[in-house]
Symmetry: C2
Subunit: 137 residues, 2 copies
């Protein structure tokens, strides 16, 4: 039997976050002590570690809910889980692509700025005048 604090220390998930996950339906409502405090078992610890891991990999809460639901039906084909992971991978790649374009444009703007005063600062001028940009954004 673990208290919520024990669970928190063992999974590195903060106490309020555990309560939040309960509210979001990612973990089922815990048993309570006589004094109404949450008491957890080993299965809860594993479940929470799963959630933590998925969050670290950037899955959002609805995706995690689906993954948990799938993991309770070992007989189903795993195409569902694969699709969730692939979709997420696609989203991560899209974000990287966007950020890379941003990086490129910012690099260009920063490196072009050799002025001394704000008046001829390339950073400010580029923001004021879209025509100074290389790509659309």
């Amino acid at each position: 039997m673990y208290s919520i604090g024990d669970l928190s220390r063992r999974t590195s998930v903060k106490v309020p976050t555990i309560r939040y996950y309960e509210q979001m339906g990612l973990i089922s409502a815990a048993h309570r002590s006589e004094g109404n405090q949450r008491r957890y078992e080993k299965a809860d610890l594993e479940r929470l570690a799963f959630i933590r891991h998925a969050r670290d990999l950037g899955f959002d809460i609805p995706a995690i809910r689906e993954l948990i639901a799938l993991s309770r039906h070992p007989d189903l084909p795993c195409a569902g889980a694969d699709r969730i992971a692939e979709d997420h991978l696609g989203a991560v790649r899209a974000k990287i692509e966007k950020l890379r374009k941003l990086e490129h444009e910012l690099e260009r703007i920063v490196s072009h700025c050799c002025g001394h005063s704000v008046e001829d600062c390339y950073v400010i001028r580029a923001l004021s005048d879209h025509a100074l940009c290389e790509a659309e954004h």
Copy 2:
């Protein structure tokens, strides 16, 4: 004289967003018509285009506030603006780095999954067992 809708169409900033920027102090409170509707001039349009452009480049609102303040003092050295842009570039690069690690790990997990049922799905197993991961995250 532009109405808020004119301004919106010309800058591609949505009407509620323009009001939000006014609330956040990025644009000064507009003059009003007799019937209390906002009326803008060319200077407001340029200011809003500047903001839009900075947002597209990922600057957050406090940074934009600073950039606007700087752009009104053309005599100041432009090191302040440069630093804001460089800081932002650094943040963008850090995000890219994080996402690339995620991408790598997700690729690995997805590509290892050749199971047919959830029971031996590598996606689910990797989430359940952190030891299957290559890097810490």
